[in-house]
């Protein structure tokens, strides 16, 4: 039987087990929306801006390990979606973005709502397709899902002209697919794995450093087993939080620009470094030349060969799925009587404990003003560490990462790579939809939240009881912090004048708003908010305007050249 392109697309999505599509209709996708309307398997979530659609699909994927799907129209629909696509690309999130396009005979004619979608998105997708013939549609969708989820994951875009979604073709969905040009190495080299284990067993000052790859590949359990087996210290990147339990005594906290003193010191001073699903980026190791000055052996496990020896030369590269490689390492260690030499490991731990005594995350607990760190700590207590936390970008993001102890993967959802303000709220929508009974919190700031605040309307429509924790310091806090440190206190355009009344704004959208101005009211307000299980509650915490994020490795400095709170 012949089906239209739109019908074929919906069938393909059903075949892939897609339950939610996040989108916004428009001329070029009307055929597709009409088919969505006629069925009930694939549910559609109507956002208020295409950026929100892609972030929501992204949050959905990050929290559930499924592919996020977004659907937008041509032209401005696509350009609005680009920020979301680039966000997902930088953090390797498996997504399929379906875009409408003007009819094939209008392509290149500067038609209404036309843009070169594959051209615009080419640098920020894993791959993209323009489907020019309806007979290619099903196989293209299959390819898109296959590419998005295999190897290093990422967003894949399928651009469908309006005449293609209208045209008829025989439908059959391929069961499997192979591409001669795409064969990612997925199994780590056995010899290299043995060599790595040998190096780990001989280490005197070992350190384990893991990133988003552990979370994405569902390797947290394997990692935890290996680290506990070896008794080594472990740090996570911003993207890797939850990859190793934060409450485990072997966890030294996040590393990097705003990492803990002990993690950064241990990274610099270790003799063997095991890097897993992480990419030594500038926010993590600071200045690579400084990092390289210390003599250490580096083992690097990653699915992407181009991540290896990109910024830092490594000694034992292992390309493959990190979970399989870690499992293999556990097997080798378990089956051998050899264990790391206890004496040097003990003195290494003693050194780390000494670094920990700096208490680098200390802050003024007696302040009469609400300290943002205090809000996150209370949030951790009230949610018993079991919430999904999304964030936007800036100081609040760092405080959430530093003070909320993530024991499980996929609980911390933030834009680490691209650093997209406006990510938090729409991402939380995706998280809440796929985890309907979970506590979902968007930790944000008064600047970030306004970048996608229109999605409060979507939350109302779909009854998403997200808790928005707004750390409101009336500044673009991270910008202000840099201006204070490096630009002589000249706060150029970082002050948020004329803020809305967030309580009234939340109420206008049909939600509950609360304004909290005293430290003594923080816990009560949080408890009250979480008691309202069916409602979105917007908590506007008026926080200390002068608070900064510490420790801090200034841009371009070495990892151990940290500014600590006490030094100012």
């Amino acid at each position: 039987m012949q089906l239209t392109g739109a019908e074929i697309l919906i069938r393909c999505l059903q075949e892939e087990g897609v339950d939610y599509v996040f989108g916004y209709p428009g001329g070029a996708v009307l055929n597709i929306y009409d088919e969505l309307f006629k069925q009930h398997k694939v549910k559609h979530v109507l956002v208020r801006h295409e950026q929100g659609a892609v972030h929501a699909a992204d949050g959905y994927s990050r929290s559930s390990q499924q592919v996020g799907v977004a659907l937008v129209t041509s032209g401005p629909g696509v350009t609005n979606a680009v920020t979301g696509i680039a966000t997902a690309y930088m953090d390797s999130i498996p997504m399929v973005v379906i875009t409408g396009q003007v009819p094939t005979n209008a392509i290149g004619q500067d038609a209404f709502q036309e843009c070169d979608t594959v051209g615009i998105t080419r640098p920020c997708v894993k791959h993209n397709f323009l489907v020019k013939d309806v007979r290619d549609l099903a196989v293209t969708v299959k390819k898109a899902f296959y590419l998005a989820t295999t190897g290093r994951p990422g967003p894949v875009l399928v651009d469908i002209p309006k005449d293609v979604s209208q045209a008829l073709a025989e439908y059959s969905y391929p069961k499997t697919i192979t591409l001669r040009s795409y064969n990612p190495v997925t199994k780590g080299h056995a010899g290299q794995i043995k060599k790595a284990v040998q190096l780990l067993l001989e280490a005197k000052r070992p350190m384990v450093y893991t990133g988003g790859g552990v979370v994405l590949n569902d390797a947290a359990e394997s990692l935890t087993r290996l680290v506990r087996l070896l008794g080594f210290p472990c740090t996570n990147t911003l993207m890797g939080l939850g990859g190793f339990p934060a409450t485990d005594p072997q966890f030294t906290g996040m590393l990097g620009m705003h990492g803990t003193y002990e993690s950064n010191m241990a990274m610099q001073n270790c003799d063997v470094l095991l890097a897993v699903g992480a990419r030594f980026d500038d926010r993590v190791i600071g200045n690579p030349a400084h990092f390289y000055r210390a003599d250490r052996k580096i083992i690097h496990i990653d699915i992407d060969p181009s991540s290896i020896s990109k910024r830092v030369k490594v000694d034992v590269p292992i390309v493959g799925y990190v979970r399989d490689v870690l499992d293999e390492m556990v097997k080798i260690v378990e089956s051998s009587p050899a264990r790391p030499d206890a004496a040097p490991l003990k003195s290494w731990w003693a050194q780390i404990k000494e670094w920990q005594r700096k208490d680098c995350l200390r802050y003024d607990r007696d302040s009469k003003l609400i300290k943002p760190q205090f809000v996150v700590e209370k949030l951790y207590e009230v949610t018993q560490g079991d919430a999904f936390i999304t964030s936007d970008v800036g100081q609040h993001q760092m405080w959430a990462a530093q003070y909320y102890k993530f024991d499980k993967p996929r609980r911390w959802i933030n834009s680490g790579g691209l650093g997209t303000m406006g990510f938090g709220l729409p991402a939380a929508m995706g998280v809440q939809l796929v985890n309907p009974r979970a506590s979902v919190v968007c930790v944000t700031g008064e600047a970030s939240i306004q970048m996608c605040i229109q999605e409060l309307s979507t939350c109302k429509q779909y009854h998403l009881p997200i808790k928005v924790v707004n750390l409101n310091n009336r500044y673009m806090g991270m910008v202000r912090q840099w201006q204070e440190f490096f630009y002589g206190n000249r706060y150029a355009e970082s002050y948020m004048d004329a803020l809305p009344d967030f309580v009234k704004l939340a109420e206008a959208y049909g939600h509950v708003g609360m304004k909290i101005e005293k430290p003594g009211d923080v816990e009560g307000a949080l408890r009250e908010a979480f008691a309202q299980k069916e409602r979105l509650v917007f908590l506007d915490f008026i926080t200390d305007q002068t608070e900064n994020v510490f420790p801090m490795v200034p841009g371009g400095k070495g990892l151990t050249e940290m500014i600590l709170a006490e030094e100012l």
Partner: protein, 163 residues
Amino acid sequence: MRHILSILVENEAGALSRISGLFSARGYNIESLTVAPTEDPTMSRMTIVTSGSDDVVEQITKQLNKLVEVVKVVDLTEGNHIERELMLVKVRAAGKDRDEMKRLADIFRGRILDVTDKSYTIELTGTGSKLDAFLQAIEPGVILETVRTGASGIGRGERILRI
């Protein structure tokens, strides 16, 4: 260091943009780029001449391999290889220059493809440096127009690039 990369790539719309876009986005050099379909029309072969340190060229190779449409990448300069470039050059050939130009073309094993009473169009094949040498050998004033293809390359002997 100069490197010649041979790339087998799916003969699909957009593949060239992906590759050239990669070079510009990551700040890599392209000295020349040539591309045409192979004996298998579904596949194109591209030769890119680039320059950079070993680390940079290693990254270029890895990044190229990451592109979904790229089937295979080989750095020809890692081993023995042959490299050729084609140039067409139109020169003024009148009066006393006319015989001299013919002689020079012969010395460089060039062929004259087109003749008018005032000009020759000469075809020349060789390495880039041979083509440069020819242009240096003739007076700059007589060159009317040049067009070069950029280098194509292939491995010597048993070195074969195919899928």
